[in-house]
Amino acid sequence: MSVLIFAELDQAADGTGSLRKSSLEAIFYGAQVAGMLGTTATALVIGSAEAPELELTGNYGATKVLHATAERLAQPNNMAYATVLAAAAGQEGSSVVIIAKSSLGDAVAARAAGKLKAGLVSNVVDLPEGDAASLRVKRSIYTGKAFAITEMKSPVKIITIRKNAVAPQTTDAKAAIEAFSPTLNDQDFVAQVTGVEKATGEVPLTEADIIVSGGRGMRGPENWGILEDLAHALHAATGCSKPVSDLDWRPHHEHIGQTGIKVSPNLYVACGISGAIQHLAGVNGSKVIVVINKDAEAPFFKAADYGIVGDVFDILPRLTKAVQSAG
């Protein structure tokens, strides 16, 4: 009857997995839901990870962690992972499954919903209300322009959460590790991954606490150094507007907005971005927005918490220095 959380691993180059920050949030979220429903939280980890990493799920509120390590599961695979997740939900008698939003998490959630005939609500921004029979969740819709309070009544309910849906508090508790080896389906392994290109050591945009983002006002890819310097000083990820990725100044996976990535960091710093409605749609879940633009009339200021009317080429290096000198 426990609440089940799919905890996603990031695989380092040497093959050891570490739990994604978004998944730790999901575990905390799941533990809060478990508390509300009078039950416990179980994390499911698929792939290679050391015992201390698995036990860490306990710090976030899981009492038990199911660890599936079959050789064939080493590579992320939405179909096989959904099979494992559905089996885990069956074993644990879980009526609520929590997953952090990510490219893998979304697909696993959808396929598991298909298997379990589960109601699925994604982009949830807050803890639910209600009881095991009927949960009410608040999810972001219309690309961040509104919310829908949605009732879930199916026997199994799957929730995917957005970054910052909860602010985790940790304890020293450790989760008990239990090996998990459900039956796998050969049909889940028919597709072949032929290559993965990935910037290493980069925090995914959807998980970054701080994002420094640039628009056409940066005038060209050769100027990104000053933006990256500030990002570095703030331990931030970098993002961009759509024209910037369309022009190939920055890679496509950095493009934020209605037709790009939706982010909800603690701090979003927009540099030379006008603030078109399609861009705002991707960032309006941010806690604090800073806008730096030389045009005082730029629409982005209306969505900002702090604004500086100025030239990015002057302001950005000064901000970087200010962060560095304040240590």
Binding site: L120, H253, K287, G310, D314, L319, V323
Partner: protein
Amino acid sequence: MKILVCVTSVPDTTARISFTDGDTKFSKAGVQYITGPYDDYALSRAVELKEQLGATLTVLNVGEADAEPVIRKCLAIGADDAIRVNAEPTDAYFVAEQIAAIARQESYDLILMGRESIDFNGGQVHGIVGEMLGIPSFSPVMKLDIEGTKAKIAREIEGGKETLEASLPLVLGCQEPIAEWKIPNMRGIMTARTKPLRVVEPSGSDSLTKVQKYELPPPKGACRMIPAEEAETLIGLLRTEAKII
């Protein structure tokens, strides 16, 4: 080869969102509807594949009659025929059931969708349909080539991309730059009027989730402007006032 493209009719990306009936209904007044931007990418790639490989191309919408202008536009862009499942698309599982029911009858080789709808943004329907049909699903797909019965796919992942090969049939959620958006030409618009649009009634179960109430985000407080000469003070404010760095 048979291709199915699933399309949504959604408020334009610049639309102001508001609600009526005690915040229980989306207010359609003054809202312009468009094809989901991601669905447009799926359709555009499907039209290119049709031209290359000689496929038949069907568009499918689960929606009410007011979605028909969007469906006609898809026909004008190059789909051969269309199906509308006459139901309000209330929930991803419900929509997926409708799509899967049609797909079981017609056995498409390729089912293309958008990476996500821009109204409910679930990014769910492709995965659920894939599961219901017992075939692989991938999203978001940025590149798709078909060689015989094999698909070569490039997909965006956090911080990079992944390339894959899989045999048809497949369900794919598409995004740019899989194809350039196509705009209907005059001839397309004329022929679209007479292309078949079949309306069928929904089947299967009720929705598993239900919206009880909508909310708008709280209005943003005034922006605190910092003079450019004092830009450095921003960092102090973020530390002590906003407490986020």
